[in-house]
C-alpha cells in the first residue's frame, strides 16, 4: 500500500507511463549493449591474441621464459600462421580450456565468448596441455615414419624453398608433399589395421588415426578439385593418381566402418 502511495505520489501528468517505457528502453539498451559488448570481446580476441595466449601458455607450462622480444615476435608470427592454415583452432583451444582462465565460472557464457588467458595458464589448463602433449606424442610416433619419408624425398627442395622464402616455391612443393604423405599414410593405415585385425590388439591412437585418415582424404579431395593441370604437371602427378588414392582411402573408411570398430568419424565422405 505504501509502495502504491509512494508510486502514486510520484505520478505527475502521465510520467510513470513514460518512465516505464524509459526503463524498458533502458533495459533493452543494456541488453543490446551487453550482447554487443560480448560479441565485441569475441571479435576483439583476434588471431593475434590467440597466438599470443597459446604461445605464452605452452612456454610457461614448459618453464621456458619468453624474454627475448625478437624470438617472441618470430615464434608468435609462426603460431599465427599455424592458426591461419587451421593447424590451431578455437575449437581445440576451447576443448583445452583456454576460456576458463579469465573466469573459471563462465562455463555457460564461454561457448560464444571465449576469454583466453592473457596472463598465465591455470592448473587445469596446464594439466590439459600436458595430457594433450602425451597424446600427441603417442600419435606422432604412429605417423612420424610416413612424414619423415615424405620430407626425405623432398628434403633438398624443402631446404631451398625455406632458404628462399619463396611462396611460389612452397605452393608447388606443397602438392607433392601432400601427395607423398597421403600415399604413405594410406599404406601405413591399411597395414596397421591388418596387423590389428590379425593380432587383436588395438593401438592407442586409433581414433586419432581415423581422424587423420579423414583429414588426408579431405586433402586429396582438395587436390583433385583445386589443382590445375599445370600444377599437377609440375608436381609430376596425374589426376588418376589422386583419384586412385582417394578411392583407397574411401574404401578403408567403409571397411573400418563395417568392421564394428567403436570409432566415430565414419562420415568423412
Amino acid at each position: 500500500m505504501k509502495t502504491t502511495l509512494e508510486y502514486h505520489g510520484h505520478r505527475r501528468g502521465g510520467v510513470p507511463e513514460k518512465r516505464r517505457w524509459g526503463r524498458l528502453a533502458f533495459l533493452v539498451a543494456v541488453m543490446f549493449g551487453l550482447v554487443f559488448a560480448l560479441s565485441g570481446v569475441s571479435s576483439a580476441l583476434s588471431d593475434e591474441d590467440m597466438a599470443s595466449d597459446v604461445l605464452q601458455a605452452v612456454m610457461a607450462d614448459q618453464g621456458v621464459p619468453l624474454d627475448d622480444q625478437a624470438v617472441h615476435d618470430r615464434v608468435q608470427a609462426e603460431v599465427l600462421e599455424a592458426i591461419r592454415v587451421g593447424a590451431i583452432t578455437w575449437e581445440t583451444l576451447n576443448e583445452l580450456g583456454f576460456r576458463w582462465t579469465a573466469s573459471e565460472s563462465q562455463e555457460s557464457a564461454a561457448s560464444s565468448t571465449s576469454i583466453p588467458a592473457s596472463s598465465f595458464p591455470g592448473d587445469a589448463l596446464r594439466e590439459r596441455l600436458r595430457e594433450r602433449v602425451m597424446e600427441q606424442i603417442t600419435l606422432w610416433k604412429a605417423i612420424a615414419a610416413d612424414w619423415r619419408e615424405a620430407f626425405e624425398q623432398l628434403r633438398e627442395r624443402v631446404r631451398e624453398c625455406r632458404d628462399d622464402g619463396d611462396v611460389e616455391c612452397w605452393r608447388e612443393l606443397r602438392l607433392e608433399l601432400q601427395y607423398e604423405h597421403a600415399r604413405r599414410f594410406q599404406e601405413m593405415f591399411e597395414n596397421r589395421y591388418q596387423e590389428m585385425e590379425s593380432s587383436g590388439d588395438v593401438a592407442p591412437p586409433l581414433g586419432e588415426l581415423e581422424r587423420l585418415r579423414e583429414q588426408t582424404q579431405d586433402r586429396v579431395q582438395d587436390m583433385i578439385q583445386n589443382s590445375t593441370s599445370e600444377a599437377l604437371d609440375q608436381a609430376g602427378l596425374q589426376v588418376q593418381d589422386l583419384e586412385q588414392l582417394q578411392e583407397r582411402l574411401q574404401e578403408q573408411a567403409q571397411v573400418h566402418a563395417g568392421s564394428g570398430n567403436d570409432q566415430s568419424g565414419q562420415g568423412g565422405n
Partner: protein, 111 residues
C-alpha cells in the same frame, strides 16, 4: 724365442691397426648419423650443428612444433609445410625430456 717375440709384435701391430680401424669406423658412424638423412652429400657434413642437429632444423620451428603438439595439429602444419618431420621429432623429444629451453636458447642465438 725370437720367433715367439716376432709373432707377438705381429699380433700387436694387428691389434693397433684393428683399433685404429674401429676408431675411424666409429667416427664415420657419427657423421652418418648426423648427416646421413640429408642425403650423404658433402655439404651435409658441413651443415650440421656441433650437437648433431642438421641446420635445416630451425629453432623457431621446433618451438612452433612444441606449441602444436600441445595445442594444435601437427599433421595439418606438416602438410602445409610450416614445419618438417624432423622439427616435430626434436620438439617431441624436448617436451618429453623437459628440455625445450635449449631450443629457446638456440632461437635466441639466431637473433
Amino acid at each position: 724365442m725370437r720367433n715367439r717375440r716376432g709373432s707377438m709384435s705381429g699380433w700387436g701391430a694387428i691389434a693397433v691397426v684393428a683399433s685404429l680401424t674401429a676408431l675411424s669406423a666409429c667416427g664415420s658412424d657419427d657423421s652418418d648419423d648426423d648427416g646421413g638423412s640429408v642425403g650423404g652429400d658433402t655439404s651435409a657434413v658441413v651443415d650440421v650443428l656441433p650437437d648433431g642437429v642438421p641446420d635445416d632444423v630451425q629453432p623457431d620451428k621446433v618451438l612452433l612444433a612444441a606449441v602444436l603438439l600441445a595445442a594444435g595439429d601437427v599433421d595439418t602444419a606438416l602438410s602445409e609445410g610450416l614445419i618438417t618431420a624432423e622439427e616435430v621429432d626434436r620438439a617431441a623429444e624436448a617436451l618429453d625430456a623437459g628440455t625445450l629451453n635449449d631450443w629457446m636458447d638456440r632461437a635466441e642465438e639466431n637473433d
